[in-house]
Symmetry: none
Subunit: 206 residues, 4 copies
DNA sequence: GATGAATGAGTATTCATTCAT
DNA sequence: AATGAATGAATACTCATTCAT
């Protein structure tokens, strides 16, 4: 399990941050277009309009590019989730879950190819979950939601429930965007995902 | 989207089949030990006690080794599922689902490392689902199960339900074997998976 | 101190040996022409009329090419020395030494550029002397010579004397071929080398 | 044969001289620690507590660092030799030679690793001897010594003798410090070097 | 003068694939 | 059919050098 690669230098200057951003954008595009095998650092640099040397100034190696992209993705998803859960009026658990599913699906539909690559080719770059700050935040946020609705949910072990929900959410959202047969209407798939999660949490099946 | 690699020649002779089997075994071992990056055809050949040339006699290229392994895995899982669903007395839907989950978890615990690699590094080798005979069979078998219990299940669209069930089943089983934090008791995780599926099918939440 | 690199596979077939020889020849030529910095494996392969892959079939890395060349050189020098010392009638110590110096100078004048590079740029590739079989043989042969003439030589410690003689011989022969100002007649330089060695051994100064 | 790299600007200011000195010191340390391959200008700059740009202010390229170090070494050795030969009472030739050998050995024992690198990896940076001012001085000083004792020495051609003496002295001193098997007592090695030189010069072997 | 971020040419090494035996 | 030596395109990464600040 490789440790989470860190940028060689933490960019403080605005210039550096723009550089890093450009590199990550280029990585995302190349990755989406050509997959891991087709991605190489020279091409990424070229696409970013930057020299290879600069890429290596901020990323110690190729894989760290992917890892950073993962982290960025997780951070974005955290923002999505946090926004959805935070700025809403009093809602039922189902409403919260439905909103999350909706927002996540929307977020993933933006660059489905990138997410395909990120999710399917490289989850193995995932650092052990606890090492990824963004993943951690997401987990805590969801855990909090379950806590708030503790009376309405069936699973006793809320840690386990959090894990199950996240795992299911993650895989079904990705599957919906990437794999879902075109015969299924997007809205139907979306509803089904909500049903899966709520079925588990409401637990009336018992 | 690469097309599904096919063996160059379909081995009919027993000798050939043994060869293919040896090659796949070696591929599995190497893959499990060293991941995709560390896997190369020369090494696979060596481990299989065979020359590289022979590998290329039966597999047109490297990726076809992985694909074949996937297919083998799917076929094995089909057998597991089919056995579980077939040789049982009249049972409730829950009993069937529970039995499937149990059997699949058991099957995946045999070579978790290989499954980790297969599932996490290479789902992208998954052919479009309809092209994979084994996946197809699995799908039909589960579809059949839902059909048999059509009165007890909430989702109207049984095709969609099949897809959702398989997707959820697949990801949670793999997650359970590969990712699950050690703090969760295996039996608790197993029960949770059943709850997820049954919650969805029984329509608990509605 | 890196251990002495070994060919990846020991070539037994005549074909392989020719390959190895071609590679070493090419290495020698490139090295002589362009020095270490200018030498690269791709160029060596090209010059040898062989693919890079083949170079790496027999040599694990670039430096092993140099090491092998060193070893080959040492072996050749051993042959020169052994021939000179062996096939001669009864001779004085001075005659033996003079013959050695003469033969070694002749041998080094064949490819002075190569020897320059070998001696001056890469003595650091020299394995610890005892690890190099050829160097070892040379040492034993000279030691034997001193033993045979023990009554005529001044230095008591013959091990030390052997070391001093070889060290001096090596550096002066190379210097003569590589560095010697053109104003000095080769024969004069040759005689001087003999005087140095004989002066030491005969104990002239005492 | 690369021409002797010259500092871009001859530093006259005390500040500049300190800078140059710091850079050379850093170069020496890095070279001694990591060898040529491991040495790079950025690292040297860092170790010197200076920016790369400053290094290139005074040294046109990497190799000029090494050359300068060589020159510095030669200059130091000249001082050693000159001191030894100058401030002594009337002495025999042997006494002079012995004193030189002793002083040079002492000087080389200070930083043997650096000298190893300097002598063994990079003698090829040696400019043609006449171009190096320090080498030139050394040569003249030794030549002078031989002149003063012309009646006691056997070799007729004193230019050649000077060359032989310096060549032998240099290689044996370095060998003594770097290569000499530990079984040989330093004092015995030292004496042997003197014997070699005196044997040649006294020339009683004829 | 000094800085150090940016450059990008250069290169060792790997490994999928072929094909003569 | 089987072999495995040979191939060579492909690529991650380094580091000497520059130049805008």
């Amino acid at each position: 399990m490789p440790s989470l690669p860190q940028p060689r230098r933490t960019p403080r200057q605005a210039r550096s941050q723009a550089l890093v951003e450009a590199i990550l954008e280029a990585t995302a595009r190349v990755l989406a277009e050509r997959g891991y095998a087709g991605t190489n650092t020279n091409l990424v640099a070229e696409r970013a309009g930057v020299s290879v040397g600069s890429v290596y100034q901020y990323f110690p190696n190729k894989d760290s590019l992917i890892t950073a992209l993962h982290e960025r993705h997780a951070a974005q998803m955290y923002t999505v989730i946090d926004t959805v859960l935070a700025n809403s009026q009093p809602r039922t658990l189902r409403a919260h879950i439905a909103a999350m599913v909706h927002a996540l699906l929307a977020a993933h539909r933006v660059e489905p190819e990138l997410h395909r690559v990120l999710e399917k080719e490289f989850p193995f770059f995932d650092a052990p979950k606890d090492q990824s700050p963004a993943d951690n935040s997401i987990q805590q946020r969801v855990r909090q939601l379950l806590e708030q609705h503790r009376d309405e949910i069936a699973p006793r072990n809320r840690d386990l429930a959090t894990w199950v929900v996240l795992q299911t959410l993650d895989s079904l959202v990705h599957a919906a965007v990437i794999d879902a047969p075109s015969q299924f209407a997007p809205s139907a798939v979306e509803r089904a995902i909500v049903e899966v999660l709520m079925g588990y949490l409401a637990g009336a099946a018992r």
